[in-house]
Symmetry: C2
Subunit: 339 residues, 2 copies
């Protein structure tokens, strides 16, 4: 049938590399029949990890790259200097059409810079945004852009809205995704200069369902499927949301273990509470795709465990199968107006 | 001894006016000996509410204003048109030196616009920010600016840092407040154009303790006492933080009431859990002061109950006693450099 989706996995990126990375990737391999994995990184640690598992060796390849880009390095400089790093070698493979997708838990800056500089943008895409799925009490929403392009222009945000809609429709399966722009009030006259300039442009788009402004307080309630914002604001939203959830859950846990009385209560509520809390665990939804590139680049949390890596790779398979990039190219070309 | 602090209370503002407003204000009157209240708003409802309580009538005055500015009205237009509204009449009293502070749960836009247009700025203040206290797992932090001046300039943010430091030191009692700027990474080269321009200016300030960038995920952990940001970002932080806390607590509650087993557990943990959750209830800390005006204007949540109104008024008393405006004027004048 159709050829396998080839996903390059950065075996060296993140706090738990290579152990959790290899483990998660091989889990995905077990459930995805049309998947081939290409581990990129240092030979010794990769081979040592692979030895621990039994897997379909015909669908696992390795490409060795002995340099590693550290979190503290300047992203652009590192990309240019460390030609034999797992990130650069992996992204080159996407650029050269040797693979469909690249997944990394490494330096966000380096992955983003490399995505733009090495892989390159799809024709018609002004800026490729980073677009994670975030959990809400109704399911998930796509937050786009959460850190790729600060000081954005209105036209970039309009493209984010379109690319985000395509992603939510075809990868996540939301029929007619509701698109909203992050704003500081629901009224028309509210907003900063960028938002005020963008709203009329979004209203003109006939290929998305634009529902207007969303206030940040409504994000956790799933009030929109695609949440459009400038990268600085998006990054603040993503990090504050994650930080608040984890702090509050820590506080609740601390309370439950505070006394004998609460400890007994905790035993009774633990299974139910765990289920609730797991649904707000971002790692359940895989990493953040960078949309609009000639290929797919997915950035997972630096703290990624196997489960997040696994879900990110499954996401890559869906993305490829659904031919998202063809859909993005077609839709952006159709919406092109003379400037 | 010293003359009473005169606080004008907008009896008509907010979802629970005038009932909760009058109740909360009279509670504050009971504990603050040097406080005089001036209720402003419609005569009939105010008098009807006041009749329900016993209080020191010598320290309660009323000023009647029959118009009400609605939430949906354009703020600036409403301020200019409705001269006999509780907000305009109340702010005029501050402008004219007839009272020290104005507290309102009414239209945020109208209160902010009125603060600037009617009360006016202290000499040397470029823009007056809105600066609420937000709960963290270590206490409270001041978020400045959370909605007054979008598309800010670097010099405004520097003044926010100074005004916020004074507030945290003298009203909240933090000895040497740690000031941080909201950013999308801890590294020096991170940020948007505004943040990159502001950081070197903050580093030069010798009258504050600037500790660098703060990522949004560290805000709930109390990583800084004064959190400086542009109004759009601040508004997103405030609303997302409130929205996430309330959504998660709702989900936890729902889980606790989900089955007989969890209900029994809930009985055991309820008192302890309630204590934990109350510490993240923003209303415990009163409303948001608008700093840098010739007088004090405090905006409380539209949904304010008596407790928030009470705490806001106590905040006004401390603000006045500590002569915060004199301190702001002095410090900004000292830090003035030729432009």
């Amino acid at each position: 049938m159709s050829k396998n989706v080839r996903v390059v996995v950065d075996a060296m990126g993140g706090d738990n590399a290579p152990g959790e990375i290899v483990k998660g990737a091989l889990s995905a391999l077990g459930t995805q029949k049309n998947l081939t994995l290409v581990f990129v990184g240092r030979q010794k640690p990769i081979e040592a990890e692979l030895k621990k598992y039994t897997y379909d060796a015909g669908r696992v390849e390795t490409v060795f790259a002995e340099e590693v880009i550290e979190m503290a390095e300047s992203p652009v400089a590192a990309i240019k200097k460390k030609k034999d790093s797992s990130i650069v070698v992996g992204l080159r493979m996407i650029k050269n059409g040797e693979a469909d997708a690249f997944v990394s838990a490494g330096s966000t800056g380096a992955v983003l810079a490399g995505g733009q500089l090495i892989v390159g943008r799809l024709k018609g895409v002004e800026r490729p945004p980073l677009a994670p799925l975030i959990p809400t009490n109704k399911g998930v929403s796509l937050l786009i852009d959460c850190g790729a392009n600060v000081d954005a222009r209105a036209s970039w945000l309009v493209q984010y809205a379109k690319m985000g809609s395509i992603y939510m429709k075809h990868v996540v399966g939301i029929k007619n995704p509701r698109v909203a722009i992050v704003n500081i009030g629901a009224e028309e006259e509210k907003g900063n200069a960028l938002v005020k300039e963008t709203i009329p442009l979004l209203k003109e788009c006939t290929d998305i369902q634009f529902i207007g402004s969303i206030e940040a307080r409504d994000i956790p309630n799933g009030a929109a499927d695609v949440i459009v914002c400038e990268a600085f604001v998006g990054n603040v939203i993503l990090k504050l949301y994650e930080g608040t959830c984890s702090m509050l859950l820590r506080e609740v846990k601390k309370t439950l273990l505070g006394s004998l009385r609460t400890k007994i209560g905790a035993v009774l509520i633990k299974p139910a509470l765990k289920k609730t809390l797991t649904s707000f665990d971002a790692s359940q939804y895989g990493g953040a795709p960078m949309l609009g590139l000639k290929g797919l680049v997915v950035k997972t949390h630096g703290s990624s465990k196997a489960i997040e890596v696994e879900h990110s790779i499954i996401q890559c398979v869906n993305f490829s199968k659904q031919k998202i990039n063809e859909k993005i190219s077609r839709q952006l070309a159709a919406g092109q107006t003379a400037e």
